[in-house]
């Protein structure tokens, strides 16, 4: 373990190449990466190819009625919704926001949680205050908390960053700030045990400064629960975003996101099962692919497995 850490210091480039070599051998991880990149391309490049306005409602009443709730066909590859809006365009437009929200909010939560967890686990003096803070945030009822955050910061953010970026920043920070606690508690628990391990004692006895201790010895060993927290976090962030827009706190009501599409789809599930299938599939694929990437990354980062 300490050997591996030493190589990491001396030849960082070859270390990352090692990681990549190991990552490549992981079939699931490569597949996950491929699917993930394909999803990104689908939502980012897709709208340029399939240039249909996701919020377009045919103003001609007769035509609108005719094009409602259509099954998939050449004209509408994924069908239409209850107002005749093109589902493919909606899934693509929604994906941009949902993937971004999922990844950014999850990163904020995991980063915050890991930081709090490591600090609390490692430094006795910080443990008390940080864990009491965690208890406090865990205990707060989510809904009023979000309402208050939005109420306090929405206008200020919209003014500073423009309405769309403002909403995005607000949503990801709201989700991030309310979902880091579990990661923090888990990481702290792991760190408490790690701290007493021989290699950490050894590192401490040779006078390793705290920041190096955290980066070289602690973090690599808590990576697996963090990865789990991250993959589970993406899906819950995507769903929480939709919950927020149902509270009227997120994006405008005609703006599609995967969570919102899924929620609307559930209402129509009996009559038009495809309505719930597409967003459900998109979210599941995202989470699955990130999970496999995470699996591969963890194996690749673990010198014991890499050595084998």
């Amino acid at each position: 373990m300490t050997d591996a850490a030493a190589t990491l210091v001396e030849k960082p480039r070859s270390h990352w190449r090692d990681v990549w070599m190991q990552f490549k051998t992981h079939g699931g991880a490569l597949g996950g990466m491929f699917v993930f990149l394909a999803l990104i391309a689908f939502v980012a490049v897709g709208p340029l190819v399939w240039a249909v306005d996701p919020t377009y409602v045919n103003p001609d009443a007769a035509k609108m009625i005719m094009t409602r709730n259509k099954p998939p066909s050449f004209e509408w590859p994924l069908g239409t919704d209850q107002l005749g809006r093109d589902m493919l365009a909606r899934v693509m437009a929604g994906g941009q926001v949902s993937i971004a929200v999922g990844l950014v909010a999850m990163s904020i939560a995991v980063l915050l949680g890991t930081t709090v967890g490591v600090l609390a686990g490692l430094f006795k003096r910080l443990d008390g205050p940080l864990m009491r803070l965690t208890d406090l945030v865990l205990a707060l009822p989510l809904l009023p908390l979000l309402l208050v955050m939005v109420f306090l910061f929405r206008d200020a953010l919209a003014r500073a960053l423009g309405p769309e970026t403002g909403t995005f920043v607000l949503i990801v920070s709201a989700i991030g700030a309310t979902s880091w606690m579990q990661a923090a508690r888990i990481v702290r628990g792991e760190v408490l045990a790690l701290k007493e391990r021989e290699f950490v004692l050894a590192a401490r006895s040779i006078g390793t400064p705290p920041h190096r201790m955290i980066l070289r010895h602690i973090l690599p060993n808590v990576i697996s629960p963090v990865m789990v927290a991250a993959t589970l976090g993406i899906a819950s962030a995507i769903i929480t975003e939709s919950a927020l827009s149902f509270l009227g706190l997120g994006f405008p009501p005609d703006f599609p996101t995967w969570g919102r599409l899924l929620f609307e789809g559930v209402e129509y599930m009996q009559l038009y099962p495809q309505r719930v299938l597409w967003p459900g599939l998109a979210i599941s694929l995202t989470v699955l692919s990130v999970n496999y990437i995470g699996d591969g990354l963890r194996d690749a980062l673990d010198p014991r497995i890499r050595g084998r």
């Binding site: 699931g28 008390g128 864990m131 009491r132 965690t134 208890d135 406090l136 865990l138 205990a139 707060l140 009822p141 809904l143 009023p144 908390l145 309402l147 208050v148 109420f151 606690m181 579990q182 508690r185 888990i186 628990g189 792991e190 408490l192 045990a193 701290k195 007493e196 391990r197 060993n221 697996s224 629960p225 990865m227 789990v228 993959t231 589970l232 899906a235 819950s236 995507i238 769903i239 899924l262 929620f263 559930v266 599930m269 009996q270 719930v276 459900g280 979210i283 599941s284 995202t286 989470v287 699955l288 999970n291 963890r298 673990d302 014991r304 497995i305």
Partner: protein, 335 residues
């Protein structure tokens, strides 16, 4: 260890007081008014007077102190009166819900049984499924069992309970007619027939929630097992000629439990918090719907009381988790 527990328990008192204050201010600051469910035809003066009668117009400090007094002095006095037949409480006002003018503790008493029954069972079932799946998935990493488990868990974590709940109702209640879609909270289990009825009405909500819980716990179990299976001590144990069963279930499992214990300890208080969506979908009407209903109606005394009890449970179970860490890994010491 004992001094640690005592110190933590003493520390919990100011912590909880602070938490109660923060919750109170937060709920008070949140937009919304107790009058939101009153029809718009009711004129403003009448609304004003209704607010006054509830005490919702008092300054926030007064209301907070009143709640503290009611919660910590009057409610316990009522409990003691109930036990011993004394009259400590006199006619002092208990914590009353603004929405229904019923004592909040009576509401909790009405709702606790179905919450414990459904959410609690789901949690236990979830853990019982998750642990073996997590252990075996890690032990046979990348086997078909593990791959299938991963797939199911990831799909399970991406489709929320509002989807799985409705799906199960459509399939099993509407199409097949096997299970009821509405939970009967008035059902009392007295004989075999009513017990069967109870099991039937619990089946769907418990399935939905147990799957949801199992997903998360099994993932943490699996990853933590994987981490430990690669450790040197496992190799040593095997080299010593120990049986696989002992190596995996005694050495590895014990060392892998720390994150799982954390997740479970964090989960137990949420049983009390209820499962809002699942409760709503199946009309279980437990504490989760009580809380969300109170939040929607800005019913401050109810929100405050429920959330505060929730906070007490969180603080308590986190302490339990900390004690368990020490038992699982004796090297962890707090003194």
């Amino acid at each position: 260890m004992l001094t640690f527990v005592i110190r933590r328990l003493l520390l919990a008192i100011p912590t909880l007081l602070l938490i109660s204050l923060v919750i109170f201010l937060l709920v008070d600051l949140a937009p919304g008014s107790p009058m939101s469910e009153i029809p718009r035809t009711v004129p403003p003066e009448v609304r004003e007077r209704m607010m006054q009668a509830m005490g919702a117009n008092e300054p926030v400090v007064v209301r907070y102190l009143l709640w503290l007094r009611q919660f910590f002095l009057i409610e316990p006095a009522y409990v003691i009166d109930g036990w011993l037949g004394t009259n400590l409480a006199g006619n002092a006002q208990r914590v009353l819900s603004w929405q229904s003018r019923t004592p909040v503790f009576d509401i909790i008493g009405q709702r606790l049984p179905q919450t414990m029954m459904v959410i609690g069972t789901a949690y236990v079932v979830g853990i019982l499924i998750a642990l073996p799946i997590g252990i075996y998935s890690a032990y046979r990493q990348y086997s078909w069992f593990d791959q299938l488990g991963t797939f199911v868990a990831m799909v399970g974590s991406s489709v929320p309970t509002f989807f799985t709940g409705v799906l199960l109702i459509i399939v099993f209640s509407v199409n097949l007619g096997w299970f009821p879609s509405i939970y009967d909270t008035t059902l009392e289990v007295t004989d075999w027939a009513s017990f069967k009825k109870q099991v039937m009405q619990m089946a769907l909500p418990v399935t939905v929630l147990a799957l949801h819980n199992a997903t998360e716990i099994s993932r943490y179990m699996r990853s933590s097992m994987l981490e430990n299976l690669g450790q040197d001590y496992v190799r040593t144990a095997r080299a010593k000629g120990m049986g696989e069963r002992v190596v995996v279930l005694k050495h590895v499992l014990r060392n892998s439990l720390i994150p799982v214990v954390t997740v479970i300890a964090l989960g137990i208080p949420t049983i009390f918090g209820g499962a809002i969506i699942a409760e709503q979908v199946f009309k279980v009407n437990g504490l989760g719907t009580a809380l969300i209903g109170a939040i929607n109606a800005s019913d401050l005394p109810t929100v405050q009381t429920l959330t505060f009890i929730f906070a007490v449970l969180i603080v308590f179970f986190n302490l339990v988790a900390d004690i368990l860490y020490g038992i699982l890994d004796p090297r962890i010491r707090y003194d």
